[in-house]
C-alpha cells in the first residue's frame, strides 16, 4: 500500500520534473515552505494562477483552522474587555498580579498560536508572510507595558487585515493603533502650552511635554528611511503635529468641554485629544501645515507616502525579503515606479517582484538563509503536511531559542531580514539541535498536556512535559518528505542521507543546506 501511494505521489512530480524546483522555490519564497498537499493544488491551478490567488489573499480557510482560531480567547474578548479584566484585578496583591501576568501572557501566546497555525495551514500563504513582514516593519515589543494587551488586536486588525492592501491605509492604521502609540510613547506627547498643561499648572500638577520618539521613527523606519531628506527640525515639527494622538480605554462617548467636541476624533480606542494638541502652524519638510488638529496628520501621511524616498525604502525592504540581499537597480526602479504610480498598492508592487527575472533567476540558488520562524515553519510543513499539530509551545520555544522571540524585538527597527543578520555559528548549532529532535521523535507537537513556554513573558503553566519528558510521536514519514522536496536536493545531501541511519534521516534532511536556505 505504501509503495503504491509513493508511486502515485511520484507520478505527478516526475511528469512535471522541470517545474518541481520552481514550485518548491515559490512555496519557500511566497509561502512558508513546501508541503505535498499544497504542491498538488499549485499543479491544479498552475503556478501563475496560484500566485494571483496569493496576491488576492482571500481564499477560504480549512474548517479546522477557522475553528481553532475561533476558540482562542483573543477571538472572543475585545480589547476594552481585556483592559477591564485587568482593571478588575486591581493588582494589589501578589496573587492578583500573577493572575494578570498569566492573562497577558496567554494573550501574547495565543497571538503567536494564531500566526503559527496560519503559517502552517492557511491557503493564503502570502498574506501570512506579509503579516510577518509588516509587523516587523511596524515593530512593537510585547514586553513593553500595555503592548501585550493590544497585541492580538494590532496583529489582526491593523497588520493582517491591511497586509495586502494599500500602504497608506496600513500606515494610518498603525498610527491610530494604541499598540504603536504606547510602544513609541506618542500617547504621552503633549504640547507644553496645551489646554491640559494650563489646567495642570492651575492644579499644581506635573506638566507634560513633547516626546519626539514616534515622530523620528515614523520617518526613519516606517516611511522615508534613515537620513533620507528630513532634518532634526522636521522631527521636532512632526512631534508637534503628533501632540494629542493617543488612545483611550473604552469606546464610550468622550467627556470633554462642549466647544472642544468638534475637534475630537475617535476610532475604536484611537483618541485625538485636542486638549493636548499644539494648534500652532508647523513647517514640515518644506510644507506649511496650518494648525487644525487631526486633519494635519492626513496632510503628513500624503507628504510621506508620496515621497519617492518612502517608495524606495519600502521597495528595497520588500526586494531583500523576497529576492536577494543585494537587489538589482532594475528591479528596484520598476517596483518603486509601480509603488508611486499606484500610491502604495501593495499587491501591484509585489506582482512586479513575482513577474521579474531577478526573482525567478534565484530558483535552486539557496541564496537566502531562512529566518528562525521561516525555518521552523518550513520544517513542520514538510514533516506534518496537513496533520494539525495541537501543541505549538515547542515552536515558540525553538524560534525564541534561535534568537527571534515572537513579538519580542525590543527596538522599533524589527528583526534583520538579511543573511548577515542570521548566519552565525551559534545559529547553526541551534538548528541542528532542533532538527535532531525529529530523529528521536521528540518534537512533541501532538500532545495536549499542560505546557511550559520558556520566556520571561509567558508564565510557566507547569514544568511537566514540553522539553523535559517528550512523548514518543511519529506521524512524520521520511519517504513522503522526500517525494515533496527530494527532487531539489544536491548530490552531496543525497549521499549523506544515504549514509545516515534510516531512523535519523529526517533529522539530516531538515538540517540540510536546502532546508536552512531558501
Amino acid at each position: 500500500m505504501k509503495k503504491l501511494l509513493l508511486i502515485l505521489w511520484l507520478l505527478p512530480s516526475l511528469a512535471f520534473a522541470d517545474d518541481l524546483s520552481k514550485i518548491i522555490y515559490a512555496e519557500n519564497r511566497i509561502g512558508y515552505g513546501s508541503k505535498l498537499s499544497e504542491q498538488q493544488s499549485i499543479r491544479q491551478l498552475g503556478l501563475d494562477q496560484w500566485i494571483e490567488e496569493q496576491l488576492k489573499g482571500n481564499q477560504d480557510e480549512p474548517d479546522f483552522l477557522q475553528n481553532r482560531i475561533a476558540d482562542l480567547s483573543i477571538s472572543k474578548v475585545p480589547v476594552p474587555a481585556m483592559l477591564n479584566q485587568i482593571k478588575a484585578m486591581k493588582q494589589d496583591s501578589e496573587d492578583n498580579k500573577k493572575i494578570v501576568r498569566t492573562l497577558q501572557a496567554q494573550w501574547v501566546y495565543e497571538t503567536f498560536e494564531r500566526d503559527a497555525l496560519r503559517a502552517l495551514y492557511s491557503k493564503n500563504q502570502l498574506r501570512e508572510r506579509m503579516t510577518w513582514f509588516w509587523f516587523n516593519h511596524f515593530n512593537v515589543d510585547s514586553q513593553k507595558g500595555m503592548v501585550k494587551d493590544f497585541l492580538a488586536d494590532y496583529q489582526e486588525n491593523v497588520i493582517h487585515k491591511n497586509a495586502l492592501g494599500n500602504f497608506k491605509d496600513l500606515l494610518r492604521a498603525t498610527l491610530k493603533s494604541p499598540s504603536m502609540s504606547f510602544y513609541l510613547d506618542n500617547y504621552q506627547n503633549t504640547a507644553p502650552d496645551s489646554l491640559l498643561n494650563q489646567k495642570n499648572q492651575q492644579k499644581n500638577q506635573s506638566l507634560k511635554g513633547i516626546n519626539e520618539n514616534y515622530a523620528r521613527e515614523i520617518m526613519e523606519l516606517h516611511t522615508l528611511g534613515q537620513g533620507q531628506g528630513y532634518t532634526q527640525q522636521d522631527v521636532q515639527e512632526l512631534a508637534r503635529i503628533l501632540t494629542g494622538f493617543g488612545f483611550r480605554r473604552d469606546t464610550g462617548p468622550v467627556n470633554i468641554r462642549k466647544d472642544l467636541q468638534p475637534m475630537v476624533v475617535t476610532d475604536g480606542l484611537f483618541f485625538f485629544d485636542p486638549r493636548r494638541h499644539d494648534f500652532g502652524d508647523k513647517l514640515f519638510m518644506g510644507h506649511t501645515i496650518i494648525g487644525s488638529g487631526y486633519p494635519e496628520i492626513e496632510q503628513v501621511l500624503d507628504i510621506l507616502v508620496n515621497n519617492p524616498n518612502t517608495a524606495k525604502n519600502i521597495c528595497r525592504e520588500l526586494a531583500v525579503y523576497f529576492v536577494d540581499d543585494q537587489p538589482s537597480k532594475k528591479l528596484l526602479n520598476k517596483m518603486t515606479a509601480t509603488f508611486l504610480k499606484t500610491h502604495g498598492d501593495i499587491p501591484s508592487t509585489l506582482r512586479v517582484i513575482f513577474k521579474s527575472e531577478d526573482f525567478w533567476s534565484k530558483v535552486g540558488k539557496n541564496n537566502k538563509f531562512k529566518m528562525p520562524h521561516e525555518y521552523v515553519y518550513s520544517a513542520i510543513r514538510l514533516a506534518y503536511d496537513d496533520i494539525p499539530v495541537t501543541n505549538l509551545t515547542p515552536l515558540w520555544n525553538q524560534i525564541s531559542n534561535m534568537g527571534e522571540t515572537p513579538y519580542g524585538h525590543q527596538t522599533p527597527d524589527g528583526y534583520g531580514i538579511s543573511n548577515k543578520d542570521w548566519v552565525s555559528p551559534d545559529q547553526m548549532e541551534k538548528r541542528f539541535t532542533f532538527s535532531n529532535l525529529f530523529n528521536y521523535r521528540k518534537t512533541n507537537l501532538l500532545n495536549d498536556d499542560e505546557y511550559t513556554v520558556r520566556s520571561n513573558l509567558v508564565i510557566n503553566k507547569s514544568d511537566a512535559t514540553a522539553d523535559n519528558q517528550p512523548k514518543f510521536e511519529n506521524p512524520v514519514d521520511y519517504e513522503k518528505m522526500m517525494v515533496t522536496i527530494g527532487g531539489s536536493l544536491s548530490d552531496n545531501t543525497k549521499a549523506v542521507l544515504q549514509d545516515a541511519k534510516p531512523k535519523e534521516r529526517i533529522g539530516y534532511l531538515l538540517a540540510s543546506p536546502e532546508m536552512l536556505n531558501k
Partner: protein
C-alpha cells in the same frame, strides 16, 4: 577526559588550524600571564550616562532634570556617591562599581562617543561598530574584527568570541568569528558520528566554516557547563540573569590560552518615558549591568590583572529631561574602563563642565573624547599595536591622550 584535556585536545585538533579560531598551531599551550584579555560591552539603545556619572556641582544639571536628577541627600539610599570634587555615582551601584572605582580598577571618560550625529540608534550603532565615519552606509568589516586581524599571526594565539546569539557587525569580516549565547542550558546532544554527518552536509556549502565553528564552540560550552553544574552541586553560588552570563564568559576567557577578544551587548536603555531616578527602569537596568560586571571581575580571579573591560553606547541622551520623565536621543555619553591594570579611580579625558554654553546643538553633551581614541590607546598600551595598526582599525581617527 577532564576539562583541561578536552580543551588541549581542541587546541591540537586540525579544525583549530582554520584561520578563523587561531592564527596558527602553537607548540606550548600554557597560560601566559602576559596574555591580554579584552571584553567590550555595548549598551544598545543609548544609556543615560549623565545619570550614572553626575556632575554634582553643575546647577545646570539640576535645572535640566527637575524630576529625574539625582541629588546629595542624608538618606543613603537616595544620595549620590561622591567620587571626587566634580563627580558622583548613582547610588544603585554602591556595592558594585563604587568599590571598583575606589580600588583603582575602574575609570570613566565623560563626554565620550562617536562623531555620528544622526541620533538614529540603528545608524549610530552600525557606524560605531564599523569604527569608520564617512558617507558609506556600510563597511566591509567591523573594528573589533580588524583588531583581531591585527593580532592574528603574532606569537600568541588569539581567541575572538562574541557572547551573543547573532554575530554583531563589530565582529563581521572575511572569516567567521564564533559566537554563542551563554544564556540557559548549554548541553550538547550530538555524538561524534552525528557531528561528522552534519559536517559532511555542509562540506560543499558556503556555510561550511560557520557550521564547524558552531559545533566546536558548543562542544566547548558543554564542557564548561558540566563543570559549572558540578560546582553548583557542591554548593557554589550560582548567579542569575546577566551575572550568570558574565560568570560563564569569565570561564571561557580564563580557559583561552592566548589573547582573548570578547564582545557582548545589553539592551533596554532607550528611556523616553518614566526613566526613573533613584529607582525605576533605568536604575534597575544599571544595577543588573553593574552586578554582572562586578561578578565578572570576581570570576576572572588572578587573570583580572591582564584584563580590560570597556563599556560603550551608540550615543548619549538629552541633557534636559523631556515631558514624560524620560530623555530623548542625544550625543556625548559616559564610557567605562575597567581592569586590574587600568589607571583607575579617575574621570579621564576632557570635560568642559555642564552649562547652556557647553551643550551640543543646545540639547546634548558634546563628544569631546572620541571612543576610538580611547580604545586605540588600550590597543597600543595593552596589546602593543603600533599607531599604523591603530589607523587601520580606526581610519581617520584623531589621536588624543587619556593615560588609561
Amino acid at each position: 577526559m577532564n576539562r583541561r584535556e578536552f580543551l588541549q585536545g581542541l587546541a591540537a585538533a586540525p579544525l583549530l588550524a582554520l584561520p578563523v579560531i587561531s592564527s596558527r598551531v602553537w607548540a606550548s599551550a600554557e597560560i601566559s600571564s602576559n596574555d591580554q584579555k579584552l571584553l567590550l560591552i555595548f549598551l544598545r539603545g543609548a544609556y543615560d550616562g549623565l545619570n550614572l556619572l553626575v556632575p554634582h556641582n553643575d546647577s545646570f544639571y539640576y535645572e535640566s532634570r527637575p524630576s529625574i536628577g539625582l541629588k546629595k541627600s542624608d538618606d543613603p539610599t537616595q544620595s549620590l556617591l561622591a567620587l571626587n570634587a566634580d563627580f558622583s555615582l548613582h547610588p544603585v551601584v554602591k556595592d558594585t562599581l563604587l568599590p571598583l572605582f575606589q580600588n583603582h580598577e575602574l575609570s570613566f571618560v565623560h563626554a565620550a562617543g562617536s562623531p555620528d550625529n544622526s541620533r538614529s540608534h540603528f545608524h549610530a550603532q552600525d557606524v560605531m561598530e564599523f569604527g569608520v565615519f564617512n558617507d558609506a552606509a556600510v563597511y566591509p568589516n567591523g573594528f573589533l574584527y580588524r583588531f583581531y586581524q591585527s593580532l592574528h599571526g603574532g606569537n600568541r594565539p588569539v581567541f575572538p568570541l562574541s557572547y551573543t546569539s547573532n554575530l554583531p557587525l563589530i565582529f563581521k569580516g572575511d572569516s567567521v568569528v564564533p559566537n554563542i549565547s551563554l544564556k540557559g542550558n548549554l548541553k550538547f546532544n550530538l555524538n561524534d558520528s552525528q557531528v561528522s554527518l552534519y559536517d559532511r552536509l555542509y562540506s560543499h556549502s558556503a556555510l561550511a566554516a560557520v557550521e564547524q565553528q558552531g559545533i566546536q564552540i558548543h562542544k566547548q560550552a558543554a564542557v564548561e557547563y558540566e563543570q559549572e553544574m558540578k560546582e553548583a552541586s557542591r554548593g557554589a553560588a550560582s548567579a542569575k540573569g546577566f551575572a550568570e552570563e558574565t560568570a560563564r564568559m569569565a570561564r571561557f576567557i580564563k580557559e583561552q590560552q592566548g589573547i582573548s577578544i570578547g564582545f557582548i551587548d545589553v539592551g533596554g536603555w532607550d528611556t523616553h518615558v518614566n526613566q526613573g531616578s533613584y529607582n525605576g527602569q533605568y536604575a534597575n537596568n544599571l544595577k543588573q549591568l553593574a552586578e554582572g560586571i562586578a561578578n565578572f571581575r570576581q570570576a576572572m580571579g588572578s587573570q583580572w590583572k591582564q584584563t580590560t573591560v570597556a563599556v560603550i553606547s551608540e550615543f548619549g541622551r538629552t541633557v534636559r529631561e523631556n515631558g514624560d520623565g524620560g530623555t530623548d536621543h542625544g550625543h556625548g555619553n559616559v564610557m567605562w574602563l575597567l581592569g586590574g591594570d587600568i589607571n583607575g579611580g579617575k574621570v579621564l579625558g576632557e570635560w568642559n563642565g555642564l552649562g547652556a554654553a557647553t551643550l551640543h546643538e543646545n540639547r546634548d553633551l558634546p563628544v569631546l573624547n572620541d571612543y576610538r581614541s580611547v580604545l586605540a590607546e588600550i590597543f597600543a598600551s595593552r596589546f602593543q599595536l603600533s599607531e599604523q595598526q591603530n589607523r587601520q582599525i580606526f581610519p581617520g581617527y584623531v589621536k588624543q591622550s587619556f593615560n588609561v
